[in-house]
């Protein structure tokens, strides 16, 4: 990789790459995204390496480990380009057959291709699979094409092309105008117009400014940013260079949570590559512009996803938020003007510069432009990462892309926006998803977590889970959040332990009103969303817990009763060994019995039993 001294040098190098690239050459892409990696991507890639060598295909077939290929539910995914044959649930044992059948003989391994759960129809090509067909990827576009550790791959896809335009054809103000015209809004959750944020920062009088990438993706159930940082790290860097040029910053920071070690590794590598190639450092491509980026790692605090807390953390303090205003764009890192944008926002920027603001505004709804990446998880057939235009309905996402609810169960709710979001019931399935529509129904866009729940989820338990999560993560600085969450947690515990009272519900509403208006930061202000949305749409479930002391979804432990059906029990003793309190007794090969006095209702026996002999009511 040369060090690029000018844009012409870069263009010339890109031409050489294109000339060398043979579009007909077979390429095997093994997905190592957040979903496939735990299923054994590394082992599958190794098996390909060996199988290709054995068949003498080294050099003829290109093997790459890619970022997320989207349909995580059917991992490990393998994509064979240029034919775009998409194999799923690939294990090490399948690899020799793929090499033999597809790469040597040009056929298809039928058992590894996608089959629609409803119609049973089979599709071998990526473009035919409904999950992919209905998407419009901008941010995720390169994830199943490039090797995230190769700068050449990124350059071949047009990477760092936006630098020519901004450095040599545009003033910083024109860059801001373009981003403002595109209508891009912050993808971290609140949806603040990106261009306006940049302008405020640009116009601040201080000479030293910063850009920050917020990669502290803490929302449980969300992995969009992880997938982008791991799968296309240079896009984030390129976006930040554009932003830094626009506002006049010389230093950038990427703040990544420490639970994402691979993202940290890939970003550090990409920064090094960008420095060596001359995209970072002094006098970038002879533009006279200097800029560099540092990676800061989080240390395991959810609240650091809040921008003022994140800044405090980079400065070396505990992650306590500060009241806004002043906003970071006026007074941020070390008290200096700072633009802080989320990973997905930054990754959108290069393409907006390349394609223009009008191209972007043509996608999406009136007030929310472009696409949004969602991590579609929970009770849905096609769990994975999707990118759709703003305004796509929940039904399209969950049913058309997501393939509906597994096991013929009924849809109950979809939770968006992480712990700060709400639970949306079935009656809003046809809601077009954008920043404003989600807020109207009591939830938020958030960073893009979308958790589907079926009839087996208890909405009281879900709300209690988020309150418990936020209670543990509240920094404790302001009273409404600290004490409000403590009291809400107490009330939820009373309710699920069968001690709920009618007056608990109005008290919760009162607490929420106080927290929502008086907490310092978004954590406390929006902590009320899971409570209020479930109280509004699923009040009957609260009433069942409080009045009848029953959990209709059979989730809340203390309200359950476990028994063993003597007819079906084989006496295998699997449950006896698992019971942590020794509550199950009986002779070997005979029916067992649970002592209700001792039983702590942990449900381990229910899960261990292979014969469905443990009953739950």
């Amino acid at each position: 990789m040369p060090r690029f001294e000018s844009v012409d040098h870069l263009t010339q190098y890109r031409r050489q790459l294109k000339a060398k690239f043979d579009p007909e050459q077979p390429r095997v892409l093994v997905c190592a995204g957040p979903g496939c990696l735990p299923l054994g991507s590394e082992e599958v890639a190794q098996a390909f390496k060996e199988a290709l060598a054995e068949k003498g295909l080294n050099g003829k077939v290109v093997l790459k480990v890619s970022g997320c290929q989207g349909l995580c539910a059917r991992g490990v995914r393998v994509l064979l380009r240029p034919r775009e044959i998409s194999y799923q649930k690939v294990t090490v044992q399948d690899v020799p057959e793929i090499v033999e059948t597809t790469l040597v003989n040009g056929g298809i391994v039928d058992r590894l291709i996608y089959q629609d759960p409803a119609s049973q129809e089979k599709f071998s090509h990526k473009g035919e699979i409904p999950f992919y067909k209905n998407q419009q990827p901008i941010v995720l576009r390169k994830l199943d094409i490039i090797d995230p550790e190769s700068l050449d791959d990124y350059l071949l896809m047009g990477g760092y092309r936006s630098l020519r335009k901004i450095f040599f054809e545009m003033t910083p103000e024109q860059v801001i105008d373009l981003v403002e015209r595109s209508g891009l809004r912050g993808r971290g959750g609140a949806g603040f117009p990106t261009g306006r944020k940049w302008r405020i920062c640009r116009e601040a009088p201080e000479a030293v400014k910063f850009v920050i990438c917020n990669g502290d993706e803490g929302d449980p159930g969300a992995f969009m940013d992880r997938a982008v940082m791991e799968g296309d790290p240079h896009a984030v860097i390129e976006g930040m260079i554009v932003g830094a040029y626009a506002i006049g910053a010389r230093q950038g920071h990427i703040y990544v949570r420490h639970e994402y070690p691979l993202a940290v590794k890939r970003l550090k590598l990409a920064i090094e590559q960008a420095r060596d190639a001359g995209f970072l450092g002094n006098n970038i491509l002879r533009s006279g512009f200097n800029f560099d980026i540092k990676v800061s790692q989080g240390s395991g605090a959810f609240v650091c996803g809040e921008e003022t807390a994140l800044i405090a953390s980079i400065e070396g303090f505990i992650g306590e938020p500060s009241p806004r205003p002043p906003y970071p764009a006026q007074s941020g890192l070390f008290g200096l003007p700072t633009v802080i944008n989320n990973v997905e926002t930054w990754a959108n920027v290069p393409e907006i510069i390349n394609m223009g603001g009008d191209w972007y505004t043509a996608i999406g709804t009136e007030k929310s432009k472009g696409t949004k990446v969602f991590s579609l998880v929970g009770a849905v057939n096609h769990t994975g990462l999707v990118e759709v235009p703003m305004g796509t309905t929940l039904r399209q996402i969950i049913y058309d892309l997501g393939g509906g609810i597994p096991d013929n169960k009924a849809f109950k709710a979809v939770q968006t926006g992480g712990p700060s979001g709400g639970c949306i019931p079935a009656k809003f399935l046809d809601l077009p998803v954008d920043y404003d529509s989600l807020q109207e129904v009591g939830s938020i866009m958030g960073s893009g977590g979308m958790i589907v729940m079926d009839e087996t989820s208890c909405m009281v338990d879900v709300a209690r889970y988020f309150i418990g999560f936020l209670h543990a993560e509240s920094c404790g600085k302001c009273t409404p959040c600290r004490e409000g969450l403590t009291q809400l947690k107490y009330i939820y515990n009373e309710i699920i332990n069968g001690r709920g009272e009618e007056w608990h519900i109005p008290l919760m509403e009162e607490l929420c009103a106080a927290m929502g208006s008086a907490s310092i930061c978004g954590l406390g202000q929006s902590a009320v969303n899971p409570v209020l949305s479930t109280l509004k749409y699923f009040r009957d479930e609260y009433e069942a817990h409080i009045r009848d002391k029953k959990c209709p979804a059979l989730v809340c432990r203390p309200l359950l009763k476990y028994t063993i059906d003597p007819e079906t029990c084989t006496g295998c003793l699997a449950c006896v060994r698992e019971c942590p309190v020794g509550a199950i007794t009986g002779l070997k090969k005979e029916a067992q019995e649970i002592d209700q006095e001792l039983c702590i209702k942990c449900g381990l026996c229910y899960e261990m039993c292979q014969f469905d002999a443990v009953k739950r009511e």
């Binding site: 159930g221 639970e259 505990i318 998880v377």
Partner: protein, 151 residues
């Protein structure tokens, strides 16, 4: 205190107060916890009050003031893992190893922790042992996984 060991970490930084967290992260990774004498030395070196070091060390979840076990078990309790039985996984590990969340087993083999979300939600429930992800860990898979690490 092993001064050379600490020095090899400190020498990577400029020694400014804002280096505090990365230095503590390096010590945590290198030692497995934050030893008292080392922490005091860091405070002196980068000119940060020991009270601030202590507040940082106890605020962030990744830091530990007591030594951790040989293997780190991190059970995900993100929303999807919660819905799919993450808590039962914690209970099973806890009772099998005789260790509470946040502590280390008596033989020093395993430390048990829960985390907000590991970001592999499509494979819930998920747990990490050291740097290795384990997918779709239902309670019945626990003995087999632990066996891989028990010596």
């Amino acid at each position: 205190m092993d001064e050379a060991r600490l020095e090899s970490i400190l020498s990577r930084y400029e020694g400014e107060p804002y280096d505090l967290i990365p230095i503590l992260q390096d010590i945590q990774d290198n030692y497995g916890f934050l030893p008292k004498e080392e922490v005091k030395a860091v405070a002196r070196r980068i000119n940060v009050p020991i009270t601030q070091v202590y507040s940082v060390a106890t605020f962030y979840k990744m830091f530990s003031l007591i030594p951790k076990g040989k293997h780190q078990l991190k059970v995900c309790l993100g929303t999807t893992c919660h819905l799919k039985g993450g808590q039962r996984l914690v209970d099973s590990l806890s009772s099998r190893l005789g260790v509470e969340v946040g502590y280390t087993s008596k033989d020093g083999q395993f430390s048990l922790e829960t985390v907000g979300c590991l970001g592999s939600c499509a494979q819930a429930p998920v747990m990490m042992v050291d740097d290795k992800y384990h997918a779709r860990v239902t309670v019945d898979k626990v003995p087999k996984i632990l066996k891989q690490y028990q010596t």
